[in-house]
Amino acid sequence: MAGPSHAPLQTRRQLLGRIGTLAGSAALYQAMTSMGHAMGTDFSGPPNLSGAKPGTSVLVLGAGLAGMLSAYELRKAGYDVQVLEFQTRSGGRNISLRGGDTVAELGGATQKVGFAAGNYLNPGPWRIPYHHQALLHYCREFGVQLEPFIELNHNSWLHSTGFFGGKVVRYRELAADFTGFTAELLAKAVDQHKLDDLVSADEVAYLKNAMRGWGALTPDLQYTKGTLSSLRRGFEKPQGGGPDGAPVPSELMNRDEIWKSGMWNWMAFHERLDMQTTMFQPVGGMDSIGKAFARQLPGLIHLNCKVTAIHQDNSGVSVTYNDMGHSGAVRHARADYCVCTIPLSILSQLDVQVSDGMKAAIAAVPYGSSVKLGLEFKRRFWEEDDKIYGGISFTNQPISQVSYPSHGIFSKGPAVLLGGYMFGPAAYDFAGMTPQERLEKGIKQGLAFHPQYRKEFLNGVSYAWSRTPWTLGCCALWSEEARKTHYQALCAVDQRVVLAGEHASYVGCWQEGAVLSALDAVTRLHKRALGAA
């Protein structure tokens, strides 16, 4: 079974093997990257492990998705499994915030979430592409109810401070005009024989026809104000009924400003494999997944365990931890094997007895910074006033975007939107602010889209991943160089220890990466355990 891929996985592996043999690992890496992008994630089904030697034990460190799934599959295979988790909750970065929750971050700031019942923010993962088949498989298996997540909304806003007078434009207006003008230029260039050295004579007619249809051009290849273009970008006066129902076409945007503005980046964004529709979200909050995973492991997850050391010898693995539920009492846990899913940002500072190569790998991967803002408003003015139902409005301001809830559409009462989602420089900037400053900045910048913000605002919460005690960042930032030098060592089974998590995958920063990494890690660990008779 090849999942969503267009070619059987076997063929892909064989091809990659050949590329690796002929051209070396750099070419293999390149090929894997490009093919990975082309084909989605590599999942053909659950591992179906079985036949563990009776009495063999595995200690899993971390109760995020990677840890819990490792525990689930290993226990099914017959291992005695225990999971140690630092937090007072399981789920890891699979987390949702609701009214009454407390967010305590490094540096001492504490926020109490004030959302109304039923409202939530997913500060970590919040959407699942249709081709993340491994995660979706376990959602089905564990009974997690999913609903569509609206990624692309043609009626959402786009905003750039330096262009179009700083005014918002609708996604559909920009998309229609970008496509129309592009098609017009190409059609005319062909028509006027300016591309004769690039386009064969029998191609010309087809190409012109394609551009006319794709770009909504008139028969004489114009993209111009009129019914054709307005049927894409929307009318100045919309189509109506009765004697006065005739629509009035809308003005086009300024062509050269479209190229210059770079706003087309937001069209290209949705074309990435990772961002294509259909997207999903769990009903009621992303943490439905973590909770469902945890339900598969009754009594096996031990919370409040702060791991400080991982040692191993010929007979097993010994983990030292502080039992934070008992005044930090030092305790030791021992098992035959260990699956460690502790984020590298933490693990790199612990006393870990693994090979020098794996140690170097653990220390070689920095963690990115990301901040999310959740804002609760009295009513869904984005729906009621602006006719925006789900999707994302983008801006070049630091908040980068506002995303509207895909659930509860048309409902009355307070609702929560994602008031900012920062990566990189803006995330550092926001993480360094007080929670109050973050909200104030988020509201101020969001006013570019929604003047209703001030009047309708109820409360908000911010989540700064670089100040999260148990990750010190949002996810692993692999550079291509670090990947080449360290990735294999990071993923190797090191005597009795194997690492798993999004950091040990090519689907970094996605839950799918954690799941695929865990499945792969436990499969190889199982082989090792069977072979070590």
Binding site: H37, F86, L106, G107, W126, R127, S160, T161, F163, K260, G262, N265, W266, A268, F269, R272, D274, K306, V307, L344, S345, I346, S348, Q349, L350, V365, P366, Y367, G368, S369, S370, N396, Q397, P398, S400, Q401, Y421, F423, G424, P425, A426, Y428, D429, F430, A431, G432, A464, S466, R467, P469, W470, L472, S479, E480, E481, A482, V507, C509, W510, G513
Partner: protein, 138 residues
């Protein structure tokens, strides 16, 4: 060259982030605030982790090092190297900060938070250090 953090190019409103950054926020990096001084660099970048008071923090069995009263700041090239290359969980900033900004913020942390190392680091020194970056941080 690393693709995740790029210089803000003033003539364009957007800089495309070349690496498809998984569940990343947006297709283009947004405009960065101006950072004309070492203090500004510290406030807008460093304090997100090292905290406004330079004291860092302690998390789950791991910590964000304090810059306050830190004898490792005696030699200016040490913090400069860490800033350019990253260190452990800390990302590299060679792409986000220019030579002047690196020199400025090194001077700032070496003369604040209880540190008193006044010998300056010149932007030219930072430029020279860039030549010797590991391939990862170029």
């Amino acid at each position: 060259m690393r693709k995740i953090f790029l210089f803000s190019v003033a003539m364009f409103a957007f800089v495309i982030s070349g690496a498809a950054r998984a569940d990343s926020a947006a297709p283009a990096t947004t405009k960065m605030v101006d950072m004309p001084s070492g203090e500004a660099v510290y406030r807008h970048i460093c304090q997100s982790c090292h905290m406004a008071d330079g004291l860092g923090a302690v998390g789950a069995g791991a910590r964000i090092p304090a810059l306050a009263h830190n004898p490792r700041l005696q030699i200016a090239s040490y913090p400069a190297t860490v800033i350019l290359n990253g260190y452990g969980g800390m990302p590299w900033f060679s792409g986000m900060l220019n030579d002047r900004q690196v020199a400025d913020v090194v001077a700032y942390i070496r003369t604040h938070f209880g540190n008193d190392y006044k010998d300056p680091l010149n932007p030219a020194d930072v430029a020279f250090m860039r030549l010797h970056l590991t391939p990862e941080a170029e």
